[in-house]
Symmetry: C2
Subunit: 514 residues, 2 copies
């Protein structure tokens, strides 16, 4: 077999059975190899940010990597922003990036670029194959790296001649790394810190500590010690809702977050580093934990969260069954649609086991708190701050979980970056209900302009933060890409549209004017 066939066979043997793709000429042998690989699904994205964002969503929900197929350095470049988000989410992703044939590179043809250099900033690991026989080995190593607990972004640069040269073979599946366990001494230290009676305590959780099983252990710890459970501001995947242990969420703005944490005397971290301000602002602190508090790092994001939280709960003699969230739906005011009645209606109608992809920014700030008591669900957020993640992430999650309803809560500004994801949803008939929160603005930036100290901005500054003139019609964009859409301006219309979309299997878009 040729190098491409050996690589794809190896990945399939590892269990990689989805490839999100936007190939070009230099990837044609990989296209042919995927074509010939029984059980490897190929999903086209019309822009690389869709491809990489979908791989992130798939990885978060499947807990194993999909492959991406990208066209040389510029194709990789177009996928970098969502790989940044994937990396910050610690998602497993394997990128296959074509490159010119090795002997062609020195001619500096128009599409030549430093593919390794492009890939490096947003990959945890990058490697270029050395021969057609080495290509499968590189793929196996990439799989092993991508599966590093909880996940990493691994990139293989594939020269075209390594893909087409014959004389290669699949390599055996590489042994998977296990998730590193936290030493007992660290668990004991955390237990001691939480036993002390010196004031308010918190357990600060992120990453895999936000899955149902780990949260159950965290809930036991809270029941035993009175510690409050707080999660990082932007969660990779939080399992929450009715019947699950609830957590509070750290506020976004730095000064509010610092205020929120100010009175804690002890904070134990699991699955997260101590939080810092998202941006710096003149005269405001970057570090958010209170001075003088005892900060105990129980587990980093790369250590086994479930194992150490369970050990900690047991060490504290915690009760077996912590209190869990009851179903609780806030009332929805009738009339004009607002972020608040939208959130209340969403909380009421969300089906059991839904998946939410939340890139709703300011217009969606009510959605997270108001859905706390909805039916149980998974909530995914913009982990790296590079907007344009929400729609691709939803698409990838829907591929990973075809039997679950995916709801994309998407702000208009961020949605425009990767609006092409709607086409992939239509082609693959993905069960995604997209709710565009259309406020005609990069609303967050109007707030940030004030916060960095800009006084009295003029019309030119405001025009750079504004999405009106012309107003974007998301229904037309959506229908243009094959996803049926409806615009709503009242709570009643939103309720009807959402109920209809959720009852339907397949993609729908609701343009919510808020």
């Amino acid at each position: 077999m040729n190098g491409a066939e050996a690589l794809i066979q190896t990945l399939k043997d590892c269990g990689v059975d989805v490839c999100f793709a936007n190939p070009g000429t230099s990837e044609m042998q990989l296209v042919a190899a995927i074509d010939g690989q029984h059980g490897m699904r190929a999903i086209l994205g019309l822009f690389e940010g869709v491809v990489t964002g979908a791989a992130d969503g798939y990885g978060r929900m499947a807990d194993k990597p999909a492959a991406t197929l990208l066209h040389l350095g510029p194709g990789m470049a177009n996928g970098l922003a969502n790989l940044h988000n994937a990396r910050r989410a610690a998602s497993p992703v394997i990128n296959l990036v074509g490159d010119h044939a090795t002997y062609h590179l020195h001619y500096d043809a128009p599409l030549t670029s430093d593919a390794l250099g492009v890939a490096a900033p947003m990959s945890d690991w990058v490697r270029k194959s050395r021969s057609q026989r080495d290509l499968a080995q590189a793929g196996a190593e990439a799989f092993s790296v991508a599966q590093t607990y909880p996940g990493k972004v691994a990139t293989v640069i594939v020269p075209a001649d390594h893909a087409w040269d014959e004389g290669s073979a699949a390599v055996a599946t590489v042994a998977l790394p296990v998730s590193p366990k936290v030493p007992a001494s660290v668990v004991a230290e955390a237990a001691a810190a939480l036993r002390e009676e010196d004031g308010p305590k918190a357990l600060f959780l992120g990453g895999r500590a936000l899955r149902e099983d780990a949260l159950h252990a965290a809930g036991r710890i809270a029941a035993a010690t009175g510690a409050r459970l707080i999660c990082e501001t932007f969660v990779t995947r939080l399992q929450r809702g009715e019947g699950r242990v609830a957590v509070e969420r750290l506020p976004y703005f730095g000064e509010q977050a610092a205020d929120y944490l100010r009175d804690f005397k002890t904070i134990v971290f699991a699955g997260s580093e101590p939080p810092v301000s998202f941006f710096a602002y003149p005269g405001k602190p970057s570090w958010l934990s209170p001075e003088g508090a005892q900060l105990v790092r129980l587990a980093s994001a790369r250590e086994d969260a479930l194992d150490c939280l369970t050990a900690l709960a047991d060490a504290l003699g915690a009760p077996a069954d912590p209190p869990v969230q009851a179903r609780a739906i806030p009332p929805a005011e009738a009339g004009t649609l607002t972020p608040f009645n939208l959130a209340a209606i969403l909380a009421e109608l969300m089906p059991d086991n839904a998946i939410v992809s939340d890139e709703s920014a300011t217009a969606g700030m009510a959605a997270f708190p108001m859905t706390a008591g909805a039916r149980k669900h998974d909530w995914m957020m913009l982990t790296g701050g590079a907007i344009g993640q929400g729609l691709p992430l939803a698409a990838g999650a829907a591929v990973a979980c075809p039997d679950r309803k995916v709801i994309a809560l998407q702000a208009d500004g961020g949605g425009m970056y990767t609006c092409q994801a709607l086409w992939t949803m239509a082609r693959e008939k993905l069960d995604v209900t997209t709710i565009i929160l259309n406020n005609g603005s990069y609303a967050i930036l109007n707030i940030e302009l004030m916060r960095v100290g800009v006084q009295n901005p003029g019309p030119k500054a405001l025009s750079m933060l504004d999405l009106k003139n012309p107003a974007i019609n998301w229904c037309l964009l959506s229908e243009g890409m094959g996803v049926p859409a409806v615009r709503v301006e009242t709570a009643e219309a939103f309720r009807d549209a959402l109920a209809a979309a959720l009852a339907h299997k397949g993609p729908r878009l609701i343009e919510a004017m808020v």
Copy 2:
């Protein structure tokens, strides 16, 4: 003044008066500085590929740089593909990329990335400021680099604290580099080579050698020596049409290009390196010039093309007035719209001094040859092969040349990458007529699949090259972003739509089903 004000004042003093922008929180001081800078125009793009592609189009037409404003490493990443194209076009561009405050970087907040590393692969020059006082100096240096003949991509990384810290001042305009002249001995060598009577000769032209004045000199050389005039396959900006010296264009596919050049005994290059195959293919050559031919490098793309071509023409005692292109419009067959009658109608209706942004791929292959005898115009192409350039390029050209009609000839596949450019055209009321060549396919890849030797591709492979299922409705996309649109399927309808769009001042889109 603060660092941001000093930087923007310096750039304005250098003559930079347009900023294509997609800012975020870390660029708010730059937004405020642009806001306060009289005569600096700010143009919002809803995706960074629009911003950088527009800066390329502006640079090609204005022969001076616009600034871009990009949000940290991920924002820069989204702009890289079109910066790759800009770099291959040798366009002048100045990127301003915000970054976290220097003291905030080590906290590794979610949006932290290696901004220098992201910028490097697609920039000719990158520099991060060292203080608020150094920021203006970095901007002045960037301007100087960007103006290096004929143009370079210069990137300044702007830490937020350098932007907001007070105590800075604008710096004096840096002396511009002049365009390096080709030594007389090299001109004499080229003259001697062209005087020899040993078979077919060609003058192979690229870059600035394709402007009207340089082509006039090239036409004189051709008249004196019988050399054929050939241009590189993907031109930055070719001035052609009625009354101008005509050039032939090297074919795209490597074997056709090699065949085209096979019989030449002498080739003189000006503004271009000897051409190479765009991609490598198994068993096909990368190098296209014939073995044994005399290859004379008169001028690289970075040496003064007009000066050396004029000197060469004078050295050859060439006549003062070379033959020029007469107006010649091919007939347009009536009925079903095809790439051929579309091209013929375009050739007939193109107004004097139009600017064409051509990313038409396979569906537009007829347009270039069939418009050779249209009214005089500028023709710009996809220089770096990273698709998604055409619409942003057209927008930028329209900003640079508000009194000229811009025509974007855009294939559907590439158009989807940066379709957000339509919104910027609508907001800025840019005089761009966009013609989408909708064939529902990455048609070029169906050809390439065969050319790399893949036999009998299955439905999975073909699905990765196909844009149907669902078919994209470009009229809806366009209207959704505020650009009036019409779909046409016959030559008659296309003629009516094109005539109406060209008669109108402002953006229009024609979806040509071909």
